[in-house]
């Protein structure tokens, strides 16, 4: 019993200690002119979905609920954001060549279609980011139409 208490205490100290290690916050606090939403006339329904389900990891501005500020969740998230942004950054859309815009749109559409995105580890804690079948269909249709028009 005594031993269990000691282990619990050590874990607690570690957990508290972890909280003091700083993490990088992904928040530039403004939306650049190169943002996807500023380039295209995105219908409100679609833009709401993109902002809720994609922008946390695919833009320079993450909305951080309280649990994402707690370690080790924050580290986990930080890595995903790093990787997500290098693949696709909606805030820097206009900096992509038209060739890359098209291939990105293709990937967005197919990732959503195949339920690869948003990541299940993300929707697990982020219920509102989960896409219903009808929402998926709406976004995919809009993205595909945009791609064909480019």
């Amino acid at each position: 019993m005594k031993r269990l208490k000691i282990i619990a205490l050590v874990l607690l100290v570690l957990f508290v200690g972890m909280q003091f290690i700083p993490t990088k916050r992904n928040q530039i606090g403004m939306i650049p002119m190169t943002d996807f939403m500023k380039i295209y006339d995105v219908p409100t329904e679609v833009s709401t979905i993109l902002k809720t389900s994609c922008y946390d990891c695919h833009s320079n501005n993450t909305q951080y609920p309280w649990y994402n500020k707690v370690q080790p969740v924050a580290w986990f998230l930080e890595n995903h954001i790093e990787e997500g942004k290098s693949e696709l950054n909606f805030n820097e859309w206009e900096n992509y060549s038209s060739r890359r815009k098209k291939s990105k749109l293709k990937s967005i559409s197919s990732q959503i279609k195949k339920d690869k995105m948003p990541l299940s580890s993300y929707t697990f804690i982020h219920g509102d980011a989960k896409l219903s079948e009808s929402k998926k269909e709406m976004v995919i249709k809009w993205i595909d139409t945009l791609r064909d028009s480019l």
Binding site: S97, R99, R100, K102, S103, K106, S110, K114
Partner: protein
């Protein structure tokens, strides 16, 4: 990809990335250089995905890569005889092109499932 071999496809993409790195682009000027850079950026991105992902994912990126390489050949030319093939069923029935060194159809998008699906659209050289 014709052989449904994810590992071999990944190796091919790695070799392509190495070839891009070795290419001397100092001979290109102005507009040609600009276009080359745009194609290169995309082709590299597609290749990187082919290196690390599943065969399904690889094939999706191969569609884009094939278009990139076709544009690259249009831009810079080639001495090789190549065939531009088209499979109407790939890319969710929207169809997709690929380049081949042989005249016979060997479908990279479906592999053994539909080896012969497609036709030669254009012969280069």
């Amino acid at each position: 990809m014709v052989a449904d071999d994810k590992g071999a496809a990944a190796k091919g993409a790695t070799a392509l990335l190495a070839a891009f790195a070795k290419f001397d682009m100092s001979t290109l000027s102005g507009e040609t250089h600009k276009e080359y850079m745009e194609i290169l950026e995309s082709a590299k991105e597609q290749s990187e995905h082919i290196v690390k992902r599943s065969i399904d994912h690889q094939r999706g990126h191969f569609e884009v890569l094939s278009a990139d390489i076709s544009d690259l050949i249009t831009l810079l030319g080639t001495e090789k005889t190549l065939y531009q093939d088209f499979c109407p069923m790939a890319n969710n029935n929207k169809g997709a092109y690929w380049l081949s060194e042989v005249e016979n159809i060997k479908n990279p998008y479906f592999g053994a499932k539909m080896m012969k699906c497609g036709s030669v659209k254009k012969q280069i050289n």
